[in-house]
Assembly symmetry: none
Homo-oligomer: 123 residues x 10
């Protein structure tokens, strides 16, 4: 039974804590709003991590990401905040968030942030 967490994120126990393994979730429909104009931004968010004692339940992750749909927030801030919040809940051995944003004003952007010890044999 997944446990309910702050931000609505649900976790379930990692049943294989004895080994380092990689989890990657790619959300190509991420959307938030520009904090200055309120216009929607669209991009692909990639979450990669090596779990320690907890994994994240997919539907709650989807709902967690959906909650940014109407939030005004800078690209850099949303990337780091998701890293902070997911890392706080999951306490992973390593985690990386990458956001690739659709063009705005003729410019496209990418933000990459990570924490923890990058695994040796990462796929």
């Amino acid at each position: 039974m997944p446990r309910r967490k702050p931000h609505g994120l649900q976790t379930f126990p990692n049943r294989s804590p004895e080994r380092d393994y990689l989890v990657r979730h790619v959300a190509p429909e991420f959307t938030s709003r520009c904090p200055l104009t309120g216009q929607p931004d669209f991009g692909t968010l990639t979450l990669e991590f090596v779990p320690d004692r907890l994994c994240v339940e997919l539907k709650s992750l989807k709902l967690y990401l959906l909650a940014f749909r109407d939030q005004g927030i800078f690209y850099e801030a949303v990337t780091n905040r998701i890293l902070d919040e997911l890392a706080a809940v999951l306490k992973p051995r390593w985690m990386r968030i990458t956001t690739d944003w659709n063009p705005r004003g003729g410019m496209r952007s990418t933000i990459v942030a990570e924490c923890g010890q990058r695994p040796d044999h990462q796929a």
Copy 2:
């Protein structure tokens, strides 16, 4: 004559135990069920290993994987469980399981787990 194993997995002796060599089986039609909703999940499962004394018979591997068709299980759990069970039966020098899942709720996922000593000259 392949020997019958728990989980229905059949093995046959590795006739070339004197050398490290790589075996890769790719199953693009893997399917199991979401443990929360019961909805079917679909993905590609890749098994790679360096055999020690035993190889896995392909048809029994196919039937073993088919047995997950109606099982409710998380992506992370099924990946690690298949690694555990195949490693327990085959006792390989090295083994890796990769699962690439079709999008669910607009998100696609990948899990990569391995055990043993990764070979030097892996193809």
Copy 3:
């Protein structure tokens, strides 16, 4: 509230200064003028940096780049000047500017300039 800077560049505080992370903005519609003939040049400008205390606001970056539309300036000069000005405003831990220019007189050109310490795990 972004602070107004020389060159019209606006910044906002980096809320995650405790970690190195990568920001990349790609502007495929960059245009300036040849300093000798006044003819327009077109190219793709890529800005990559690891922020320290400041990030750059996207719309002001766009307007800053638009200001070169009628400026006569060599490829090398505009690349280095943008690096100098952005680095002066943002004081990043690392920064790189790459300009890829459309063919002129049958020749296409690329200029790459950077400053600071290139990060280890750059995406």
Copy 4:
């Protein structure tokens, strides 16, 4: 005049034993039979080696490979057996056999086996 060998493999002297060089033969029409069902399997077999005193004559290699057309044999066994037999005949400085098999039961397989000292500057 090529010398006739067991398995019908013919060799001819390597006229350049003073240097390490690479020979690669790719046979995309390899076929054998499943040892359990007798059904034909199809795949691409790649032979790579650094010759010592002997090279393999191509037509005899083709006939040697054709002889597996009606043989019931596991993927792993046929790959290692061809490596063993070719290595026994050619006594190469290094040799690798790769077999890539068409899907059976929805699964596709690859086996990679080698012997000898992998050359430094292999093309």
Copy 5:
């Protein structure tokens, strides 16, 4: 104001000598003549360099390259001569000339020559 140089090459001062940066000019319409038959050769010439105190003005570079249109000269010679002449004029920290020639008599050729210390972080 660019200064006029031997060979008609014009230079302008490198305004950012404090940093190593890369300049690449690709001329896909380079043409000279075969020194034996007088037939025209066509190819792509790529100039890459890290400027020291001088950059090369693009139009004069184009005219300089155009001057080879009716010159009979071997591929190797023209590649090295352009490297020599440009290096003499620009005195770069590093320079490389690559010429990729269209097929002649069913053969296509490439010549690569460089001088100076190849930069560490070359893009």
Copy 6:
């Protein structure tokens, strides 16, 4: 004036012996005959070398390669013989011959041979 050499190969002096540079000639229409059946073989021959005091004149290289059109010779032998003969004439600092052969009997082959000290910064 190129000097006439055994095998009809003509050379001309390397005017830039003070530097290591790369020369690559690709002949996609190479043809010889099978030494056993007399049937024609077709392939792509790639010559790469770092000249010392001599370069090879292209037309004579073409004629030299054409002379194999009616010669019965094994893939391995022709590759090494061309390496031997060209190296004897050109005395390069490094040289490599690669032959990629069209399928024969459903098999395609590649031979790679080289001599001398492979250059550090080979393009």
Copy 7:
């Protein structure tokens, strides 16, 4: 409020019956079973139709297709049966079902069946 139909298919009124328009639903995860061996088959099912008075609700369509997951049925039969059942429920102006099946026994199959008057300007 969608109305419940036999087979669990739910419909909702077509609000634009005054015009012919095309609806296409592609289900790349369709699976049923072989009626002879019970082994699962996998394929992509494409439903195209021009609605008359009714459209099909997507989730009920998904559940309807999922119901074939454990049914033993020939490719031809399942294609025509889905056409029959959907046409009976939706009474479309035109409908086409295409099934593209993954390889079985080294063979891949496609079945295409349609009913009604194919529209003139079908996208």
Copy 8:
């Protein structure tokens, strides 16, 4: 000066009513909500039309499409409603709306609706 229309759509006079010409606007970031679950849907909306007396101003079109961001509506309904509303405002000689939807429940969908006389020489 564009005139304000119901739905916030702004138009401006077609200055070339004497000829049939094609206008195509592609919006790859279209999003609405499922009318049953409230979950967001994502897709690409393509508007094509031959203007008569009015064209549509782009920013107002963008805002008009953004207004569906929080609306629960079926794929078929939103496609036809946008066709109805745009046709009512613009009174085009011909118009077509195509919506291509991201996968939901493993299924991807396309709806194509048009009105008016399709032009002969449509690009």
Copy 9:
């Protein structure tokens, strides 16, 4: 229950004889032998037909095609014979056999034969 036919081909009743629909089976592993040399030939065989009262069972079709594995027969003959035999058994409204052969002696071949009335709206 499929009925057994001459050549081992099994059929089952077409349950939708009231409509014309297309069946396509593609066998990329077809192999027979050259009637002159006995050497194996490899190719892709495509069977397309509009069934009348009978369909062909897939496994028996696979076995029927496998029976050519050791038969010496010309490309043209095998294509027409399979068309004759399948048409005799299935009595289709229309049938076409296409064989695409791997290169032999540097030449690749295709044979296309059909019988019956080609359907109007063939997919």
Copy 10:
């Protein structure tokens, strides 16, 4: 001697008026400004025509197109105006202008306008 025309367009006589032939000029660096915001727009403009008595001189065409760089004008208007002005000057048998615009506000646009009799065998 090209004759100077209004708009700076220069023409020269078509020396082959006895035949219909196609001329296509593609300008991937076209830029104008939004008439409402003044922001620059970027796109690719394609001019295609069948000349009657006059052709357009390329440099004057380039300068003519450059004159839109600072003009505020709608996509539809600029496309039709260029068609009008070029057609007025060149009086072609047929002419088509296509503009493909970079994304603005997440939307990309295309306008296609033509006049005259479209040639039968248009490339």
